[in-house]
Symmetry: C3
Subunit: 144 residues, 3 copies
């Protein structure tokens, strides 16, 4: 059924420093703190970002580069294992100075200020959730 | 005051399979697992979707149909009871291949890949939260 | 490192009444209920709103006024202390009748209907998280 149940773990608020690369920062954080499953959200602002759109026919990512300073209107994501180590999958909605929004898969961003909330999920009886290659999408997915 | 307090229940990560209708899938899931109050968020991609805008003057929903493959930039919602059974109210922000975003009430979507996080809330002393007809908005709402 | 750990506190679902000013309502709620750290999300609709864009060079906020009825596609934020009392920092994505989205820092909004989820975070050994003036951004921030 693709439905995985967990119990609550730790809860974090995180300030990301100016100049950090956001995806790398989060990846390092969840690996160092060993956050193996969970939920992530954030707000703030970035100097620039690359967001991805996945072509559902060709199974290829296309990236859009955004510059000029952008508000993080929403950053929504989850944490699970990939190749045995913690991996964050995140989508982001960004706004420019006029309020116009652009969004997609968060590939890369240079932080101006980012405030993150993380809820850790712990496996019941230590069961863990790992991404595996998925033929139907061409992506690494939780088993359906 | 319209402020309802709960204690934490179960926590779920859910993979929705390709081709599923997202609103129906979530509705069936929360009813089968008896998730009566809670919070829901998701990311992923859909093949198409219908999003609603509620006219605050006429009290009518207008729907916009989107096709061509869209990223789910954010899906934010809550779970409570309606007519005595679990009901999810969800809004969604979607992005097309250029990153341009469209959003509103999630009426319907055909899943390409969707990853959901659910936090269950349990009523203190078994108190439950039910939507009731609300004159000020013309919608089913939690009592204010 | 700017990483602050908490334990889970109370969980709330909140209906905001029609006509309320959303930022003021939330501020009053978290102060009255003494929610000192936490996460906040919401969906719904507003009659109008003011959203802010922070100029990363000049360190000034620019506001965009939106009217005509808007769906709250996402409202994402956090709660921590500022000047010793609870303070909510929230970003919002809004959609007009065509589904087109606008987003930024939530400065002000007149509620039509808003449904909020709050997760309270409690300090471990009563440690609290307070915003302090931050030179690198010109904002009040959690120490990095």
């Amino acid at each position: 059924m693709g439905v995985y149940e967990f119990k609550a773990g730790r809860h974090f608020l995180v300030r990301v420093p100016k100049g950090a690369e956001l995806v790398g920062f989060i990846t390092e954080l969840i690996r160092r703190r060993n956050i193996r499953q969970g939920e992530i959200s954030a707000i703030g602002a970035v100097a620039d970002a690359a967001i991805g759109f996945y072509d559902q026919q060709t199974h290829e990512y296309h990236e859009v580069e955004l510059t000029g300073g952008l508000e993080i209107v929403s950053l929504t994501g989850n944490i699970s294992l990939k190749d045995g180590i913690p991996h964050a999958h995140m989508h982001v909605g960004l706004a420019d100075h006029s309020g116009a929004m652009f969004g997609g898969h968060l590939s890369r961003a240079t932080v101006f200020l980012t405030e993150i909330v993380i809820h850790e999920f712990l496996g019941i009886e230590k069961k863990e959730l790992e991404r595996l290659p998925d033929e139907s999408t061409g992506l690494s997915c939780w088993p359906a």
